[in-house]
Amino acid sequence: MDLQGQNGLMSTYREGWRNRNPAGIAAAVSIVAFYVVLYFEDKVTRYTGFAPLTGLAEAVGLRNRWYLYGFLYCLVMMAGAVYYLGRHGNSRYNRYRVGANVGVQVTLGFLLPFVMPLFGGTEFYASYFWPLKYDYFFPQTLQDLPVYMAVYTVAGSLVAAPILAYFYGKRWYCSWVCGCGGLANTFGDPWRHLTSTTARSWRFERASIYTVLAFAVTMTVLVAVDFFIGDAHPSFHAFVSGERWDDWSVKTFYGFFVGSILAGVVGTGLYPLFGPRLWCRNFCPMAALLGLIQKAGRFRIRVKKDMCISCGNCTTYCEMGIDVRSYAQTNESFTRASCVGCGMCAHVCPRGVLRLENDKTTKTTLPVVTS
């Protein structure tokens, strides 16, 4: 095993489709178009009389276009995983991480929700938690779910996820479990070097991601309040929970703007132009929340003293746009809220300067007893 071989990275900037050439732009346009049709097919149908994805889903015997999407997602993710492991699979961390992520998504993210309704069960996505899966915290949803699922989603979101993030960093979710992260690290891997690393992009990230988090929390609270008083206050109910697309409510606006536009159309569609973690870095409320816990928790990236040669491989290949080099060259072990712990900075470092650790207290220099 070549522990840290980088053969898979050598030609990144010599491959045009990975660097915003016409093929890269065409790829982005195609993915954007796909997501527009996926999310807004009813509108497409209204204007064209044609429902491409639903039609295709029915043709292949799937219940609706969302199952078709789940199926395509799994295929693309597995193909991406083959590409990823071909390039970076010489590291055990990369193999275990991507293997786990693909396994979780194919089973919990696709097979289980597909199979359970066949046996009269509820369609349930066990790999998503609030605030990413915000509707699982709506009182109506909790009421409708079987009790064990309701307990699972509440305890998972409020207890397990934060505790794991405290001890292992947000990577346990964002890089080992999550579907968005899983797609980014497989299908999106060819474009990871395109994530902006400027100070300006970091400022934008902080402003936008906490705005979305605040929006997600506010919406959850409003929907809960509406559950109890909505009947008595119809205008409040319409403002918060109105389901009609054409007169906006808080819920439909969040679903449209955050759920469809930012997570799907922009977050995934623009992989080939701005890197694969646009959504995770700038908009995901779950990443924002776990990031805050990570800052207070035990995960860090440790920097070996004085060994950095400032080459920039870590910064270039950080999919979250963290300027890792700025810490490495100043001997500063660090924890950044946005770090999803993909491990690529440590993997590509030609001097072995970086290491992901679950313990902030390890001293850089261990005491040596004079014999």
Partner: protein
């Protein structure tokens, strides 16, 4: 009263000095004279720009607005002399001399040129400067495919014939067909980098090494055999113990072959990687003292023989831990020297003191860490050696002297040199060091730990000289 600081060199030592001074003196005018580039970049990363793993912006450690933000004035010109009496730095072209209150010379290294006939042929070059990179990229790929750094040619208005920053014509363009094969001469780090990027481009490579094994300065025969094996696995024609005699050219002045004592090696290009020398030719004739290696002689406070003139980085000849005076051409010592030079220029009583030696490198895809004294000429030293051939392949060599560990030479795994320095400074015995070796492990998560069987623990090779 403001003090004008002039820094010759935009590399790691010069940039650290500039940042160090700016951190304490927001208003001092700081002028950085650079012939090579507008932007500070990591010279150690040139190979990745060549292969396409990084782009030019990627190897620049700071965003390009750094000079504006820090109020550094940049001059793209070649310095040609110092008038220490009038405190003037002379430049070529129609550039006015710069008057300084403090002068920091951090002009780095230039490639050592090959001594062989035909070394001036088209297609023969080096891999040290940004301009070398551009030549080498064009030679291999026919063109530099990515965006060039801004104002890549700004220095051409102010340079001299002997500058290491001139652009070179490629033999590939003249020959009008793509490069198929190349020869790399010199068994050191830049040589193996040139080999690696040529293989990444799918070219045939012959690596000509004068010594009996690759990089004898740092690694021993057993370690080097593995590196050579790995190079051959990657399709490199490794020639050991072969001496270059001449470069042979065709009628157009393009190199066509390298002649060695073992025969002729046909080639389309040659990378000469036989080391670097301080880039100090321009100081000849000034009254700044230069030693026989070309280094600017400095004392422990990095002050030269002239008042208010300091030197840092590759061009400075500093006192080593072993008491000798010579240039120390490493990235992190350049950075440290830049910091010390800044402090001294600010009036501090700072001293440059190198602790226990350490370094690291990557040889093809094998990582290398060294700490302490492992050179084969150390007297009364014995080596303990272990080669791991499991899921991980690695070698561990621990040098001892008078029963205490004095050095580590480690290939294939990652180690925290600071812990190993602690072992040496703590005076551990070999047995103690082996017991505690795991404390220094820096491998990524899930890598199986190094296990040293008892049998191997107790094996001792004979003192050096007998075992080699």
């Amino acid at each position: 009263m403001s003090t004008h600081v002039v820094i010759v060199g935009n590399g790691i030592a010069g940039m650290e000095a500039a940042l160090g001074i700016r951190a304490r003196e927001p208003s001092w005018p700081i002028t950085i004279v650079s012939e090579e580039s507008d932007h500070f970049f990591s010279r150690t990363a040139l190979m990745w720009v060549h292969s396409g793993q990084l782009d030019h912006r990627g190897i620049e450690p700071y965003e390009r607005d750094l000079y504006a933000r820090k109020n550094f004035t940049r001059v793209r010109a070649r310095a040609v002399g110092v008038d220490t009496e009038r405190e003037l730095l002379q430049l070529t072209g129609n550039q006015d001399a710069l008057s300084y209150d403090r002068l920091i010379i951090a002009c780095g290294s230039a490639p050592r040129r090959g001594p062989w006939p035909g070394s001036d042929l088209r297609g023969v070059g080096h891999f040290i400067t940004l301009q070398d990179l551009e030549w080498f990229e064009k030679e291999v790929y026919g063109a530099a495919v990515r965006e060039r750094p801004p104002r890549a040619d700004a220095h051409l208005a102010s340079t001299t014939e002997d500058s290491p920053y001139l652009h070179r014509e490629t033999a590939t363009a003249k020959r009008n067909r793509p490069l198929e094969r190349a020869v790399v001469i010199g068994g050191g780090l830049v040589g193996i980098e040139a080999v690696e990027v040529l293989r990444a481009a799918g070219k045939q490579v012959t690596f000509v090494i004068r010594e009996d094994w690759y990089w004898p300065m740092a690694i021993d025969g057993r370690e080097s055999a593995w590196i050579a094996e790995r190079m051959r696995e990657h399709g490199v024609d490794v020639r050991l113990g072969e001496n270059v005699e001449a470069m042979l050219g065709d009628d157009d002045g393009n190199v066509r072959a390298v002649k060695t004592d073992a025969g002729e090696i046909p080639t389309d290009a040659v990378v000469v990687a036989v080391g670097v020398i301080p880039n100090t030719g321009w100081l000849t004739g000034s009254d700044i003292e230069i030693d026989e290696r070309g280094g600017v002689v400095v004392d422990d406070s990095l002050t030269t023989s002239a008042a208010n003139v300091f030197a840092a980085g590759d061009c400075a000849s500093v006192r080593w831990h072993d008491g000798t005076q010579r240039p120390e051409q490493l990235w992190y010592t350049g950075r440290e020297q830049g910091r010390v030079a800044a402090a001294v220029a600010l009036g501090d009583d700072a001293r440059y003191a190198r602790g226990t030696w350490f370094n690291s490198a990557k040889l093809m895809d094998i990582e290398y860490t060294t700490v302490g004294q492992v050179e084969s000429d150390s007297d009364r030293r014995a080596d303990w050696f272990f080669e791991e051939r499991g899921e991980v392949r690695s070698t561990t060599r621990i040098a001892t002297k008078d029963g205490r560990v004095v050095g580590f030479n480690l290939l294939g795994r990652r180690w925290d040199h600071e812990v190993l320095i602690g072992f040496i400074e703590g005076g551990l015995t070999l047995a103690q060091a082996l017991d505690r070796l795991h404390e220094a492990s820096f491998d990524t998560e899930f890598v199986p730990p190094l296990v040293i069987p008892n049998k191997a623990r107790n094996a001792r090779s004979a003192p050096d000289g007998e075992s080699a």
